[in-house]
Every structure is written in C-alpha cells, then in structure tokens.
Amino acid sequence: MVAFLVRRTIGAILVLVAVTFFVFVIFIVVPGGDPAERIAGKNATPQNVENIRHDWGFDRPFYVQYYKMMEKMATGSLVSYTSQQNVVQQIEQGMPATFSLSIGAGVIWLFFGILVGVISAVSAGKFSDRAITVLALVGVSLPIFWLGIVTRYYLAEGGWTSFFPDGEYVPLTDNPAQWFFHLILPWAVLAVGFIGFYGRVLRGNVLDTSNEDYVRTAKAKGLPPNRIMRKHVLRLSLIPIITLFGLDFASVLGGGAILTETVFDLHGVGQYAAQSINNFDLPPIMGVTLYGASFIVVFTVLVDLLYAFLDPRIRPT
C-alpha cells in the first residue's frame, strides 16, 4: 500500500512536469506570440521591447525560461504578461464559482445517470428503455454551449418563460438562495451530456452483471428483485461508473467546464483559461493547465484506491 502510494506520487509529479513542459513547448515552438511586444504595448520603441525582453528573460535559452517560470509558479509569484495580475490569485478567485458549478452538477449527473441507467436496464427491450435510450443519445449529442445559449435565451432572458436569473455567479456566502437560483441552469446544462453517457454505460454494465452466475444464485435463493439489484448487481456495475465519474469530475473541477462557464459568464477558472488563451497569455494558461492536470492526476490515484476498496479482487498495482 505504501509502495503503491509512493510510486503513484512520483508518477504523478512526473506527469505534471511533462504537462507543463508540453504547454511551454507549444508556446515556444509557435511563432508570432512574442510576449515582449505584447507587454510593451502599441507605441513602444524597439529599445523598449528590447529592455522588456531582457528584464523578463525572454532572451534566455528556453530551458532557463521554463525553469524560471516553474520557480515563479512554485512560489506563487507568477504574473500574467498582458494584465500583470498574479495568476495564482486569479485562479483562487475563480475557484468558488468553478467548485460550486462542478459539485452541484456532479451530484445531479451522478444521481440521474444512475437512475436513468437502472431504469432502462430493468426495462430492457421495452418501450421505456427505447425512449430513454433515444433521450440519452440526444443528451450526449447536444453541443453544450449551444444548449447553454438556447436555455439562457428561452429561460432567463425575458419573455414569459423566463423563470431563472440570467448568468453571473453569486457567492454562496453573500446569498445562498440566490447562489442556488443562479446556478440551476448551468448545473442542468453541464449535467445533461453526462447523464446520457452514464445512463448508457450503466445500462450495459447492469445487463452484463445480471447474467453472472452469482446473480442467478441470488435469484434462486429467492431474494427479492429489489435487493438483488441494490446489493448484488449495482455493487459491481457501479465500479466502472466510479472511474468515469472520478475523471470527469476532476476535469470539471480543474476548469474543464470552459464552455458552460463562458456561456453563463460565471467567471470561473475555465473562463479565465479561455480568456488567457484568446490573449495568448502564457503564464495563466500554464497555471490553469497545471491546476487542472493536478486534479486529474490526484483523482486518478483516488479512483484506483477506491476501486480496490469496492472490489476486493482488485489490488492496487
């Protein structure tokens, strides 16, 4: 167990270093994004640009630049090229919105995903199964930003169907009721695709597991169908769902809900990333990527541990 954790931690750190290096290389290899000219502004003289280039260290070899950037990142003094704001602080400012969005949406999509999957597996082949399958496939196929724009227009921007407030994030500590009210639409929009996908996966898993010998034994013992489903079938069928959920949830927490955050103007980490990318601003992109990747890496390890706990046949390796 200890060996497992040590090995995984070393692996995780290596992956994070590789991720940052990879992002760095993207922005070094691609020409045209000279940060010195961006910092200097429009009316800068060549001498100004040259000074900035020297002061910020853009004339150094790229591995020195990479090392300096990582050093600043570690000490929390990384500063944006365009707005000169501290990147770590900006990410911290975006985290409440991103966390509120992800946790709420995660609860919704896990609950309804399991519900949809179980209902359609129990009624496999019947009309309700087919109807749910079609709905789930439509849910998976909706472009999330388009769904966001359309729901925002029809349900939040005036007109008689406008039941919800329009966009923006209200901090939980300011006004819990408004926080909840403002997040209903973003939660729903973010969750729809996941519900469809999880429902489909779980349906297949439940049907596969139902054919196992031990389930037949449970039936033969005369256990009630409800108990077989809860204690015997779901216990095994939910394991792959947990892997999926761990990774998806980590990605959303790490700023992966860029589209939802942008469409509903929540000012989360994802939206910050999108804005920085449009400005071609390397430090924030670096910060957000590292932030997002560390969530994914940590959750991958957590999922592996949970896996071993849920299915004792599997040992963490």
């Binding site: 388009w146 596969d208 449009n278 994914i296």
Partner: protein
C-alpha cells in the same frame, strides 16, 4: 464474465442471429462479418439514422448547387444594402441602423432632435421561400445568406469531423499495435504519452493548440499549414483524441497478443509487420470501425466547441460552430441564426451516435448478453 458457449449449444447469440423459423445451417460456417451484418440488418432504427446522416452529407455536398441556382449568392458574399421582395413587400437585407427618427429616416443630427433613437441594424428574418429561395433562413449580421452558409458550414464541419476521425483512428491503431506487439520500452513510452494526454482537459488542450496555431499557422518538420486553414482544427482535434482511442485499443491488442494464433504465426517466422497488420489488425477491426463512427460524432462536437471559442475554424470560413458564435449576439431578435446550425449539429451527431451504437451491438460479440428476454 459471459459464459463460453460450447459447440452445438444454443446460446443467446445464436438466438440473436437466427430469425424465427430459419434452420441453423443459415449461419453455420459464416464469417463474423456476415453474422454481424445479419444482426445489423434487422436494426431499422440504425439504418434510418444512417440514411439521415447520408442525407445531411449529400445536402452539404450539394451546397454549391443550392448557392448558385436557388439562393444566387456565395457563402461569404454579403448583401447588406440589397433590397429584396418578400411576399411582395420590399425589404432591405440589413435594416438601417444608427440614429433614426419616427419615420425610420436617418437623423441629420442625433443630439438636436429629441425624437431620434439609436437603433441597431437588424438582418432580415427567415423568408421561408417567400423570396424565391433567397434568404430562406434570413441573413446574418453581415448580410450573408444563412441557409447557404449553413450548407457550406456543414461541408467544413463534416470534413473536419470525418478527416480528423480518420487521422486519429489511423495513428491510434498504429500506436496501439506497436505498443502491444513490442512491449518493453516502446510500450512504456507510448502508454506514458497516453497518460500525458489524459492529464489534460480535452477542451483546454484543444483551444490552447488551436489558438496558438491560428495566429501564424504551422511551419515545422516539412509540414506547412497556413493560418486560416481548416487543416489546423482537423489536425488539432485528431491529435487531442489519439490517446482516447489508442488506450482501449492497446488493451485489446495486448490480450490478443497472448493468444496461441499469434504465437503460432511468430513460430512460423512471420515478420512483425505481418503479425501486426495481417494477424492482429483484422481482430480489432470491429472495434476500430465502431470507434471511427463514434469519434466522428465527438469530433463534430469538438470542432463546434473550438470554433465557438474562436480556436477552431477561422472567419470568414463558415462552420456550424462559428455560425452559432456569430448568431449569439442576435439571439433575441433573430434566434434562427444560432438555432439552425445547432439543430444541424444535433441531427448529425445523433444520427452518428445511434448508428454507431447499432454497429457496436452488431459487431461486439458480447452483444449477446445485452438484451435479456
């Protein structure tokens, strides 16, 4: 998991393959592909959606015909000041904006006349064939025909979806075969590469690469891609998703690699190339086919997301994603500008998903345990 069927036993698989009243000889000695086809052909829903997808493809391929003979304009031609007759009423494509007085005339001076209001210019509403095929779905903010752009945008989106799916599946198959066949350091390097790609949120990596390349294009290693080219989103999308196809395929090849027929073929002196592409590849071909179909759907969605964020297809080229982004500002007055491309994306992606699902049910041997009776 699924029980191994012994010879001559009647399994659920046989039941799914044989129609009522058919003799068992109908499936004896047939190839797996034929059996899959027998399972597939009764799935009318899947074929209906395949038909829908082909219909959308044909409609988009015929975009130049529509543009020339029905709409009479190109995808990038704006007609902001043109006046057209809609059901006998003369209308301007882009209503005049700026400071207007009560009669809709331009105010000579906005500040002296109190009846002047600032009015934004609004494109023409959908004419629904009231104008002889012109501006069927209205015009966008630049006075371009939305219906024409919708079809041309479909060409772009479908091209990116299909081509990036081809490239992505091709490289994923090669990497999976190399990793699983050779094992050792090669496998280690390739799986670490997959791990690295998994550690990025897909969209974040997509927009980072897409917007980085959108500025000056890509000019390295003998590859020259210009900055507004639709090859940039195509390559970015195929690159971003390689790991998501490659990792499951590698797992499959890895288990096949242990089988006796591979050992036998190596013992007979087959070259690595032969083992990989003649022995192993046909055995994962059904998964590859399913992945290919479903990845097209994912790629079309990803393309639209990237284009919406400005990191995919660059203006003025039309694509469904850029059209939604363009129409976003006018959603209150002209909702069809963003509704129409969105509906096209949903139809295309649903069609591909349902068909891919049917394909998987038919090709996946485990499909026998899917439906319980």
């Amino acid at each position: 998991m699924a029980q191994q069927a012994t010879e001559g036993e009647f399994t659920l698989d046989t039941a799914a393959v044989l129609a009522a009243g058919e003799p068992p000889s109908a499936i004896q000695g047939r190839s797996p592909w034929y059996l899959a086809w027998r399972r597939m052909r009764r799935n009318y829903v899947a074929f209906f959606f395949l038909g829908l997808f082909i219909l959308i493809c044909v409609a988009c391929l015929l975009a130049p015909v529509y543009a020339k003979h029905v709409a009479g304009t190109g995808p990038n031609n704006g007609h902001p000041l043109e006046q057209i007759r809609v059901n006998g009423v003369l209308e301007t494509v882009l209503s005049p904006g700026g400071y207007l007085d009560k009669h809709g005339k331009q105010c000579p001076s906005a500040f002296t006349d109190p009846s002047c209001h600032l009015v934004s210019s609004i494109p023409i509403a959908p004419t629904w064939f009231g104008a002889g095929g012109r501006f069927v779905l209205g015009a966008d903010a630049n006075g371009r025909d939305v219906a024409v752009r919708l079809l041309y945008g479909g060409r772009t989106s479908l091209f990116i979806g299909i081509v990036s799916s081809l490239i992505c599946t091709f490289f994923a198959v090669i990497l999976a075969l190399l990793a699983a066949y050779y094992g050792g350091w090669g496998d280690f390097a390739i799986t670490r590469f997959f791990d690295l790609m998994y550690a990025f949120p897909v969209i974040l990596l997509g927009i980072a690469l897409g917007s980085a390349l959108a500025i000056n294009g890509f000019h390295h290693w003998g590859i020259n891609v210009q900055s507004g080219s639709i090859w940039i989103p195509t390559l970015v999308i195929s690159y971003v998703l390689v790991a998501y196809v490659g990792r499951p395929l590698r797992g499959q090849v890895l288990s096949l690699r242990q089988k006796e027929f591979i050992e036998a073929s190596i013992a007979q002196g087959a070259s690595p190339f032969r083992v990989m592409f003649i022995e192993l590849l046909p055995n994962i071909m059904s998964s590859v086919l399913v992945f290919f179909t479903l990845i097209i759907a994912t790629n079309i969605l990803l393309e639209s997301s990237l284009s919406f964020l400005g990191a995919g297809v660059q203006p003025p080229t039309a694509s469904w994603g850029t059209q939604i982004a363009d129409g976003q500002d006018l959603i209150v007055t002209r909702p069809w500008l963003s509704l129409a491309p969105g509906i096209m994306i949903v139809l295309t992606v649903v069609a591909l998903n349902v068909f891919g699902d049917g394909l998987r049910d038919a090709l996946d041997p485990r499909a026998k345990v899917r439906v319980q009776r």
